[in-house]
Symmetry: C2
Amino acid sequence: MRELKVGLAGLGTVGTGVLRMLDRQRLSLAARTGCEIRVVAVSARDRARDRGVDLSAMRWHDDPVALARDPEIDVLLELMGGEGDPAKAAVCAALDAGKSVVTANKALLARCGTDLAARSEAAGGRLRFEAAVAGGIPIVKTLREALAGNTIHRVSGILNGTCNYILTRMADEKLSFETCLAEAQRLGYAEADPTFDIDGFDTAHKLALLTSLAFGTRVDAEAIYVEGIRSLTLADLAAADDLGYKVKLLGVAVRTDQGIEQRVHPTMVPKHWPIAQVSGVTNAVAIDGDAVALTLVGPGAGGDATASAVVADLADLALEAGGFAFGLPEAGLRPAERAPMQHHEGGYYIRLAARNKPGTAATIARRMADEGISLESIVQRRPDRSQDGEPATVILITYATTEEAVRRAVARMEGDGVLASQPQVIRIEKD
Amino acid sequence: MRELKVGLAGLGTVGTGVLRMLDRQRLSLAARTGCEIRVVAVSARDRARDRGVDLSAMRWHDDPVALARDPEIDVLLELMGGEGDPAKAAVCAALDAGKSVVTANKALLARCGTDLAARSEAAGGRLRFEAAVAGGIPIVKTLREALAGNTIHRVSGILNGTCNYILTRMADEKLSFETCLAEAQRLGYAEADPTFDIDGFDTAHKLALLTSLAFGTRVDAEAIYVEGIRSLTLADLAAADDLGYKVKLLGVAVRTDQGIEQRVHPTMVPKHWPIAQVSGVTNAVAIDGDAVALTLVGPGAGGDATASAVVADLADLALEAGGFAFGLPEAGLRPAERAPMQHHEGGYYIRLAARNKPGTAATIARRMADEGISLESIVQRRPDRSQDGEPATVILITYATTEEAVRRAVARMEGDGVLASQPQVIRIEKD
């Protein structure tokens, strides 16, 4: 029987999960692919640590780059993470040597995915990264293979389980952002330093890869507008609920007349959308093609889910499945024309803390009108026991308008001195 | 550039849709696969009919079997449908000649899919059928490739858009089954003779294929317990809603201690399940694996969606992607051990029309107790203006019990003469 010899760099939860899964499914995988997938060499930081898996039959490398260059291996499985070295050096070394690479490293791919694809093509290896986006959801395969007959207009998703967990608990249990974040940290869903997740950067990395797969463009993470969930309050979630929406942190990439819009921000989505129903750490991706609209829902993280994606990539390599890393050959990936965020069009939710003084309502209404923004609704709630000087909450829902009009209107109101604090702006997605 | 030469049998909505999609995506598909996908020959019933596509460059065959044997073609694309000849003869002729086959023909595959897989392996061609199950949802690829590292425990889905359309309208608009069926027929969602859809046979064909893909078993459509949606009333849907459920026609395949349970029937599913939210003609499939649980939602029928699945299969062939029709080689597909429906375990909803006479309630309660069935709830509703002799509606919700216990209890009540009409029994799926 043919063999696919794998060198595994990184023996954390996912790495050991992959070893266990390959062991558990050995016969099935061999029958499916006509090939035995064998991990023949490994590399990790600490050789002495007991990981509960038997590594005795595998060659040990202290240096992942040496592992990548090991002439015995056909595939480097990179599960170290990190956008720089040693992950990058190891991946490049393997690709340049004509080996294939399977990786879950979204940060690295978001930074230099196009270059890595070019290297793989130049030397004849393959680059696979199903686990890098939405964990166990086979979204890379779906975009690259299953929708090959479609022109994609839009791809969007809940790509970060930590944020979705926090937003779900806030909405369902009326708990503050801080409480839910602490709970997420306690349960291991959030890092001690949660910045990367809750400020939207993790979602942006994944979105950059989805954009490239969906639109056949070069990976361009820097073009992404990124806003996280820190500023969301229970008042915002309650207002969204009243209006028939849920608030989700979405990554969205859309083909517009002006180019490709890539954005990550809290978004109000209609409750009846499948994606609105996705709760907890679960991820979901929605794709709008000219022939098919799909929604895929599943686990976005965790050792088992990530291992499942990695093993599927290895099985494809064992089957000698062809196809380019991002669907098209690297030379065919076009630079993504960036549609500037200022030109984004859509409805907006705007929550203002309006100073309780004569003329405030008129000023707010005038600033909106000056920018040509039509209002679908205005709700003003006075504090329960109205006191002079205490601000009133005003919630505006706009008809479709542009980001720049909203920003200008809000900036003017701030200049007018009618606002008691920073306004909250949440974009609305609709049918 | 390499060429993949296709012979297309069947020029209905899907066939012409495929021709248009291949034309529209010609450059993209060639770049993705390094291969030009060309339809070089066609066959259909009526040569003269204007189908709005240019067939002048394609050789015409009156006989689809002759098309299948055409030495010029690499792939037969079978879009005629029907479980017998000429579809079967054409598919067999192509496979036996070592050609690959792409088909949307679920009836044929449900009847002899294992045999066709064996023929394809014997002669070296490939058999692909993404379009045969859930239309534009890439569920075949997902089970066969993306979840290769999983042991699947359960696969279930809304696999018939006609039924889901009818159930959605009944529930949302309180319209009768007959009214909704007529509307589905008017809109082209249901055939003039709707038996095949609404009595569950179409769902069963698709389920048979999913079962084989999920569990590595030989296709065994005859093992499926099938029940359609004709008997559902607005009272049932309203009661389900009160209890926190939606009623869906599901195809379900589960691995149990006794073998594989395959069943198609109206099912009460908790409202918060992603599959419960799927409305109208949309399809959905949920897969529970040991590493990953996924739900895929998308269009189950229609020319574009089906064409999208067909073109994806052709693109895979153009990439020379390997892999067996049902994941495993035919010789590795085990006979499915049939778990008998009588042994099905779960909760039940039972609606009875109880004769309004002394002792009825006691009789009903005793018959349930005799079978060891515990009740979660009993709701009895008397008709608005109670008349002697007019039956009362009694709704029983059971804790987990067995199909045979329920059937026996209900049969006894019928024998007791306490029921005024046929009881309604709906199975409940829970977390």
